[in-house]
Symmetry: C2
Subunit: 462 residues, 2 copies
């Protein structure tokens, strides 16, 4: 995979002379991205492209090529692959569509291409791919614009939508590998590379079909020991599975079997399209949850009830708060106020003010040995008019720098964006858009915690 993600020289085969809006010019995108290695355009109709000398073919270029990126009509691809392997190129990305994702002819061409590469010790990524992105060396082979960010997120996917729509999925991409039809380079190679990569702390996977299942599972189990591996498997429905066959030519397989096997390997298995982004930011920001017991701190009784419903749905337990914890809030509340978990601060707030009460309650709950994590509910008021209803500062002061228990928040009110950023600004807490998402995210941290406990127990027993 090193040639794919860390090439010193890249040949762009079939790169167009057209550039600018609507041309989807890969080389233009690559230059704009600031790739510091050598770019070698290959186009028999051009002497130069975007100011760089062009060559009619890879032989003529007569220089070492680490990576070739082929974007040619599908009937020209096989010949081009043959030229690449003849010139000693070991890593080839085939961007072109119309292979295993298309008709019988496409499947044939794909098989021939793979055979040719294997005979010559070369590897093919794709076809039907945007290729790779590596924000640590400013490499992109995508003809679509991407966001650049040196983020610790490794992405493996079977579609460019995860590159272009990073905002909808993993949120960030440090290094990305689009396997497309995965005709040769597959999930195992990609996971192994990113698993061993010290720049990468978490791995997000979109999967339509999987080959070498057993290898992948044992690899996933190994990688999961040091970094979370998230898998979003699509093609779950009957229509979806049929669409998988015509999208990447993969076999979608039996969803529940994949789910069980992947979870067993320690993979965090995702089920809905919005979960990847929430999972990534949650796992990068919050510690694994050391037990099942959640304390809910709220300034709305109704919100506390909703939180209880959501936590139970995701398999978490309400913490039984210690007497000392209850007392800390009871001392501030009217005597008639029944206190428990959810811990409703509102009557105390009406007496002493939100900013006075909230940090006291939070500190008490965090110090409670019967609490494994905290779901905080507070207000996102109009600012600056209702500044006194924003407790972000007091909350951040009350939270320790060292995170051992996850702390997540849900805010209600008209100003969730601005107040949410204040809550998150010291990187101690995460705010979620819905109670449902906050509870789901805690369940993911608990799943991660359980896996690490299992690993630890196995180690102790061996």
């Amino acid at each position: 995979m090193k040639h794919f993600l860390e090439p010193a020289s890249v040949a762009l085969i079939g790169v167009s002379r057209r550039s600018g809006p609507g041309s989807y010019n890969l080389m233009e995108n690559m230059l704009e991205y600031g790739f510091p290695g050598k770019i070698i355009p290959i186009n028999p109709q051009a002497d130069e492209i975007l100011g760089v000398k062009a060559w009619p073919n890879v032989q003529a270029a007569a220089q070492p090529i680490d990576l070739a990126v082929i974007s040619l009509p599908r009937d020209l691809v096989l010949t081009s692959v043959a030229e690449c392997v003849a010139a000693g190129v070991k890593a080839i990305i085939v961007v072109t569509q119309g292979f295993g994702d298309a008709d019988a002819r496409g499947r044939e061409l794909q098989a021939e291409m793979v055979a040719l590469a294997r005979q010559n010790g070369a590897r093919i990524l794709g076809p039907n791919t945007l290729g790779v992105v590596n924000n640590f060396n400013r490499l992109t082979t995508s003809f679509m614009p991407l966001v650049r960010e040196k983020s610790p997120v490794g992405l493996i996917c079977q579609s460019g939508v995860f590159f272009v729509g990073a905002d909808n999925f993993s949120g960030q991409i440090g290094k990305g590998i689009d396997l497309g039809n995965a005709c040769d380079v597959g999930f195992c190679e990609a996971l192994e590379y990113l698993g061993d990569d010290p720049d990468i702390k978490i791995i997000a996977v979109h999967m339509e079909g999987l080959e070498r299942t057993r290898d992948f599972l044992s690899l996933a189990a190994r990688v999961s020991r040091t970094k979370p591996v998230l898998v979003y498997k699509t093609g779950k429905s009957e229509t979806g599975a049929r669409a998988v066959a015509s999208h990447t030519g993969s076999l979608a397989g039996h969803y529940r079997i994949y789910e069980a096997a992947l979870r067993q390997a320690g993979v965090l298995f995702l089920d809905e399209d919005w979960q990847m982004g929430e999972a990534v930011r949650t796992l990068l920001n919050q510690p694994p949850m050391p037990g099942d017991r959640v304390a809910v701190i709220t300034v709305t009784g109704a919100g506390g009830i909703m939180a209880s419903d959501a936590l139970e749905k995701y398999g978490l337990c309400p913490a039984t708060l210690a007497d000392a914890t209850i007392k800390a809030v009871a001392d501030l509340s009217p005597e008639w106020m029944p206190l428990g978990n959810p811990l409703d601060l509102w009557p105390a707030v009406m007496r002493h003010g939100l900013r006075e009460v909230y940090p006291v309650a939070l500190t008490a709950v965090l110090d409670d040995p019967g609490v494994d994590s905290v779901l905080m509910m507070s207000i996102a008021p109009d600012l600056p008019r209702f500044e006194f209803l924003d407790v972000s500062e007091g909350v951040n002061q009350a939270l320790p720098r060292e995170k051992s228990k996850p702390v997540v928040a849900w805010l209600y009110g008209p100003n969730r964006g601005q107040v949410g950023r204040r809550f998150e600004q010291e990187d101690k807490i995460l705010v979620y858009q819905s109670i449902e998402r906050a509870a789901w995210s805690l369940s993911l941290l608990r799943e991660r915690g359980k896996f690490l406990e299992r690993i630890e127990a196995d180690r102790a027993n061996s």
Copy 2:
């Protein structure tokens, strides 16, 4: 309910002389809101409050009072209610907490208060409530600031969080009734009022417990014929149900039984906290779905698969596209491209451009008699640089003004906010944050469609 929502004069009993930040002064909030009726402050310690003459009690005020709002310490409330009924007040809001939501003494006080009101033909809203909001006559009895909007959304709830956090729940509130503990005025009275109100087109309900279940169900069935009634029932979990008892003193009851009975009555039953807002905007903007068959138009094969998975999950069917529909896109696609539903336009886009292909496909799909609704997937590119990847204009031109089939969209890319607003600006289409939400929203429109079909069939048979 008219006295509660359309009073000409409001007495504020226990209103404080303190105003400004942190005072939670109801009168200040009410004045700021611009209530055009008479405000009568009652406070034995003050001659005037915020420039308005104050009276020691309602008798002394010696003027007609349509609505009294009591915010006094709980031990003073009963006497105040007695004074109100003696002065002929027929509508009383008790803001104060500490009754059915608290201890044995609170439950006793609540029962006495109700008995007193009933003996005198008065009604009590609350206790433990923010009262009402009516944006059509600029009335609020909330001591917390609210958003003002003449919206066709009627809200019935048991907590102020739905007023203050409107942004998190129904999104908008035209008229709102917070039942609090619902000691006297309950769901039936509120639903009947909003059901008959011509300003209100949809009714959002948050429910912890329900009394007069049978009356409510027949009322809900009647109201649902003309406007959608949404119910978000909380206290589903064991902890949640316990918390309900100490929040509003209600009995949470058996969740599944509520669900079945409410659905049978035509209520759209919600399960998660984010659903209310999506449901309201969806039902206000899109028509009921006339059948189960959804066409997915996509520029990402992977996205089409995710959409298929989500639609199946919510009980919807993939439409079988007519030959003419397929042909319209096949004519623009490479010959190797397998086309179906999801209808993947990408290879055609690479040949002809996104703006050229998208409206052709959309028109063909909308004209297809085998299609009941459309889920569109497109790109939200960086602007203005990638303007040519935004198809909002062409899509809006292709969509008819008359909406008979729901059309919803999901966008991927870095600029979902701005491009989403463009898609929505002609009010023909709604954009969703996740594929999951788009599919769920269609299923809600289908549920509404089925209910109306059932009504129609019953009418035809009778």
